[in-house]
Subunit: 361 residues, 2 copies
């Protein structure tokens, strides 16, 4: 499956291809990129996929260098970015060279930020190996590192030249990571496509069994939905791209209020979706059935819909540092019905508190 | 004088206005920017212009915060950028807030990089107070910090929302800084506009006397020339923008080979122009008269055209780390005649050595 992302001179494709890792070099050669590449990854991912990727690049005629970064969010620091820049200089990379981010969302965010800012922007290719990164983080050109005060506070928009998704990598993910990625998939259905949401409702069993055909269809479908938003709003200039933030205003705040230690990102987004669904009902925007279908699907794919001991004040506080705030106002994306969304700016704190209270089991 | 820079949704104006510093707030209000601003500057510039700028912003209804950074190139480090991000968070800035860079090129580069990467890009306004920054660094959206191995190695393209040039600030510049800025002005004439070059040849006396009308006309003219290039090639995608690099391939290398301690940037560019002019003659691209007119004008405005003890090997080495290198090849911008340029990729090292030898007095 080849999904075009039409962005004028910055256009690129998302290639969803079982076994695609071994084809990376061929795809890069087709794009006519410069002769030097550097694969950024963490040690565990490199142990699993590093050889096949490097072989594929070398066979296609590229020089390959590698840099290892810490696993997970620990990679997203200024120090690690600086280490990447050092490695890029050392390897003699220039703007025609290509950084390949091989791994989960954090690898893509960090490597993308380093590529976006090295010589003011060089070629960058995403090879996401988690569901979360495949359907969300790797698409759309958002790159970032963290700041002690807020995640992803420092970053850049830098569109990749290619996103290569091998859905078979999802098969070996730990159960919790796999399910975490499904939260973004469910989100795409809720705000963007009722038919896709219904497919998810029907497909929970083969999806949870990680049946290859189902993985390819569902992951590819989610990539396509995200791509359609990116095409129309590549740099969050309009409200359209806010749609992708559904469940995230409260989800991010739940993560921040618990120092990112309690839930995975997907689990927090699942809880955020539940709270924001109830918020929509509370302010009269959505009916009860719309709320229940969301909760039911999240629960069916094994994501949390309830949580004990949520500190509403801390969560509210964290929402105020949202990057989408516009001169102090926080936009909430809400779903009036499955397959649609609306951005609401004047949500009262009391209503957010009431929505958070729903999370108590 | 209002010079439009037409870049679609990223369009902006360069306003060249004697006494313009006091009008900054009015201009920002016209643009409809968010209510919060932060003025980034160094202590000496702030002592001279800080009050008038802050007053202008406050009078126009903006909240004003300030952050001081080191003077000159010392500002362009990752540590200083991190301090800016901290200050932005502390002041509660979001994407609608505006960073105002008040000062020379280094302030603009650093503040621009911090603004480009904070929340993946916030509003940014350039208020350049040196000739060098007014006619060159502040226009075109290049932002950067330095790397131990190369200047401006890390950065981003981030177009400002406004460039406000007050040519009267040139009157109080130290003599060496003022003349240094003239190198970029001469460069614009050589590669882009023969009539402008002739105006410079006729105007050296009032220009060096810093006659206000001449300053406004010459500085404004140079801004217009640079803007015309930026409009057609905002992110160095084609050879067009390379034109602005005339004198810089060797100029940058001269600076790098002497650890940035011997010449100001403008002085190095002046020497770079002389060497590249001779290089063009040597490879049969330009006639002797074209070379002599360039040297004569540079000398007439008090810029160096000769230098003792140039280490040709070190300079050649430094050219190889040029950000404009494309997969190992270094593009030289050469001037076949006044008012025109050509990009040449296959320049031989021997010819560069011979051109450098011309610099010996």
């Amino acid at each position: 499956m080849q999904i075009p992302v039409r962005l004028g001179p910055r256009s690129y494709s998302i290639v969803v291809e079982p076994g695609g890792l071994a084809k990376l070099g061929d795809h890069l050669r087709t794009l006519g990129l410069g002769s030097r590449t550097m694969v950024v990854s963490d040690a565990a991912i490199r142990a699993r996929y590093g050889v096949v990727v490097a072989e594929s690049l070398r066979t296609a005629g590229f020089a390959v260098t590698e840099v290892d970064i810490p696993a997970g969010e620990d990679a997203k620091t200024l120090d690690v970015a600086a280490r990447c820049w050092d490695a890029f200089v050392e390897a003699g990379l220039d703007r025609t060279s290509t950084i390949v981010a091989l791994g989960g969302g954090a690898v893509g965010d960090l490597a993308g930020f380093a590529a976006a800012t090295y010589m003011r922007g060089m070629n960058f290719v995403q090879v996401p190996t988690t569901v979360l990164a495949q359907v969300d983080a790797s698409i759309g050109g958002k790159t970032a590192i963290d700041h002690p005060r807020a995640k992803n506070l420092v970053g850049a928009f830098h569109q990749p030249r290619l996103v290569l998704v091998d859905p078979l990598t999802a098969i070996t993910l730990p159960e919790r990571d796999f399910r975490s990625g499904l939260a973004e998939i469910v989100k795409h259905g809720i705000v963007l496509d009722a038919a896709y949401f219904e497919d998810l409702e029907r497909s929970t069993a083969p999806l949870l069994a990680r049946e290859p055909g189902t993985l390819e269809r569902i992951i590819g479908g989610s990539c396509r939905l995200k791509a359609s938003v990116i095409e129309r709003d590549p740099e969050e200039q309009s409200e359209l791209r806010f749609a992708l933030n559904y469940g995230h205003t409260i989800g991010h705040a739940l993560e921040a209020a618990t120092a990112y230690g309690r839930w995975t990102h997907g689990e927090a987004v699942s809880l955020g979706i539940v709270a924001e669904a109830h918020l929509a009902r509370r302010i009269g925007l959505a009916g009860g059935d719309t709320v229940e279908r969301q909760e039911r699907l999240l629960a069916a794919v094994g994501l949390p819909t309830r949580a004990t001991d949520v500190d509403a004040t801390a969560v509210l506080d964290a929402t105020r540092r949202d990057k989408k705030a516009r001169d102090g106002k926080i936009p909430f994306v809400l779903a009036p019905a499955i397959g649609s969304f609306r951005v609401v700016y004047d949500v009262r704190s009391d209503d957010v508190r009431a929505a958070l209270a729903v999370l108590a089991p």
